[in-house]
Symmetry: C2
Subunit: 357 residues, 2 copies
């Protein structure tokens, strides 16, 4: 048996159903077979709109510091957006991505076996810049208010995210070569941009991504491009054609929700916010106020996000165990949450997955 | 019979299949029944990448001037984007929208009767600002290049586009009340934005659109909001829920390609670029170099764009004739172009539609 290693995980449930799915994430970590040689310790951390309402800060400094000083990784649930403009409030997950330099947001979207319309792709989203720098100003003119925001694209971040896309394409290919079933035969990265309008910003993203993927180590990876509007169209018309899609921050945000629609529910789609040696798993869904407190939130996106977090912390074997337990639950289709057309409660889905570990 | 009126129409085929579909647009105008009391004269105008290659300008000044001085409306085909960065080249349709103050881009997406998954929505896209102001700069830093683009949102343009959305919602309701079949019962405008990240720019769009739609004249119109990523997700999961979607320029661009995927082919989706007293009809598809010259381009998007142009020039009766002839062709499904799974040539589809006028 491998020597045991302990990972310290920050748990940031946030608002709404975040509080119902993050406990599921903790449970699956605790239930991993001891033969993997992994132990976990946990620390509960605050962030979100409720935290803002009580403390005036959506992302307390203590949360950032604890993650930086104590933790190996974290799980983030979801946060509510205020329904009316709220001065001083600003999304804590966007801030966290920047503060911890989590430069990549990795979002795999995959149908389980035997699907008539198979999808197996991953969106690799730049996670720190683009319009998310949130540098805005508003001026008053004789014609009314005019507001401006900066979209910033750097060569460095574009290079890093495209290299990450190349690595992920190679890793996926290795998993396929080790015998995993897949709809893809060869690794492919699709660069998404709008350089026909934004020749400098998206043009820089495009040319830098091309150069990064032209590195010798990615020579087995196919590279193509899609303009973002056309990418959304093709994503729906021929999703099976895509393996790894790399995109600037905002297009990645939009494309990953679009891809989620292909697999039937946002409740299935995980993400990882990845930096050097640190990863935060985060389900792609929101805080879902409509179903909050009913115990029926789909935990699958979170369980898969736990797998992703482990994968990016180098624990691929533990990740694979989680993925296959989740796939088992979905393939059997007996215990599904209401968003999937089933009647199972969050806890029943979690227990079914744990049984399959 | 109504007194005869002559409209002068600029024809701008552009590149690729633009040259195959714009003649179809001319043909349907010439074939309109004389009982409508409309006559047309035409002027051929240049723009596009081929024009750029021969003259150094993608949008010759003569094209703009002729449209301004002589024309009542125009039809624009499609333009090719250079496949490598081309200094000095800039999209002529984006320039035309700004030069002629065509502040709204209206994109209806509709399935024909008897569709198991019906869609009947229209995307009303702001057409002059947002990132399309194309104010970009690039600086060299010790860490490589950094490029920035301005996203500009004004109260005035947001007010105008939201008011246009309100008008369109009312007009659609009138058409329904006059007995047209529809999946909708009441008018609804959905405001799309990303104000949870862009609180000033998209926040201004959101609040201004809310105010514009709160005007007494729109009191029968329902108003709701969707964050753009969630909008793409919902568009695919429950498209029948949407009537009129109003969005800033870039989101509108992306959403309209997404909506096109719902009806099976971009080759079906029309648009109109609309200003005060002027409209340019423009199919949503591109120049499609892969099928150029084969005579198999789908003319439906252009024929419907002719209808839209006429609608915004106040000729609603002529527009209705075109829409119903097109619907007749699609409902029968005998003469369809290859993108629709058929084998008909462009000309055969056009002739079938003309027979139904
Ligand atoms: C909540 C919001 C700020 C966030 C984003 O836009 O990144 C969300 O949509 C996501 O995709 O994680
Ligand atoms: C060709 C391109 C500049 C254009 C746009 O982005 O507006 C096109 O995608 C469209 O939708 O008309």
């Amino acid at each position: 048996m491998a020597a045991s290693k302990t990972l310290r995980i920050g748990l940031i449930p946030g608002d709404g159903i975040g509080r119902e799915v993050i406990p599921a994430g903790r449970r699956i970590l605790e239930a991993l077979p001891s033969s993997l040689g992994l132990k976990f310790s946990f620390v509960n951390l605050d962030a979100g709109f409720d935290t803002f309402k009580t403390t005036g800060k959506a992302l307390p400094e203590k949360t950032v510091e604890t993650l930086q000083k104590e933790c190996d990784g974290a799980l983030f649930g979801a946060v509510s957006s205020p329904s009316t403009p709220t001065p001083g409030y600003s999304s804590p997950i966007v801030a966290l991505r920047k503060r911890l330099a989590l430069y990549a947001n990795v979002r795999p979207v995959k149908t389980v076996k035997k699907n008539p319309s198979p999808v197996d792709l991953v969106i690799v989203r730049e996670n720190t810049e683009d319009l998310y720098v949130k540098e805005e100003k508003t001026i008053e003119t004789s014609d009314g208010k005019v507001a401006e925001a900066i979209k910033r694209i750097s060569e460095k971040a574009s290079w890093n995210i495209a290299s990450m896309a190349g690595e992920i394409a190679l890793r996926r290919q290795r998993v396929r070569e080790s015998g995993a079933e897949s709809i893809h035969k060869a690794p492919l990265v699709t660069i998404t941009h709008k350089s026909n309008v934004l020749s400098q910003t998206d043009g820089l993203f495009r040319s830098t991504a091309r150069s990064a993927l032209a590195q010798q180590k990615y020579k087995s990876v196919g590279v193509e491009e899609q303009i973002v509007d056309s990418m959304v169209y093709k994503l729906f018309r021929q999703p099976a054609a895509y393996d790894v899609i790399v995109a600037p921050n905002l297009y990645g945000d939009i494309l990953s929700d679009g891809a989620a629609a292909l697999v039937g529910s946002l409740g299935l789609v995980p993400s990882a916010n990845v930096g050097e040696g640190f990863a935060i798993g985060e389900p792609c869904h929101g805080s879902a106020p409509d179903i909050e407190g009913k115990g029926i939130a789909n935990p699958i996106a979170t369980l898969r996000s736990v797998g992703l977090m482990l994968e990016f912390l180098g624990e691929e074997q533990a990740a694979a165990k989680i993925y296959s337990a989740v796939d088992g639950n979905l393939e059997e289709g007996r215990l599904l949450s209401p968003d999937m057309g089933g009647q199972a409660k969050t806890d029943e889905v979690v227990e079914d997955v744990l049984r399959r570990l």
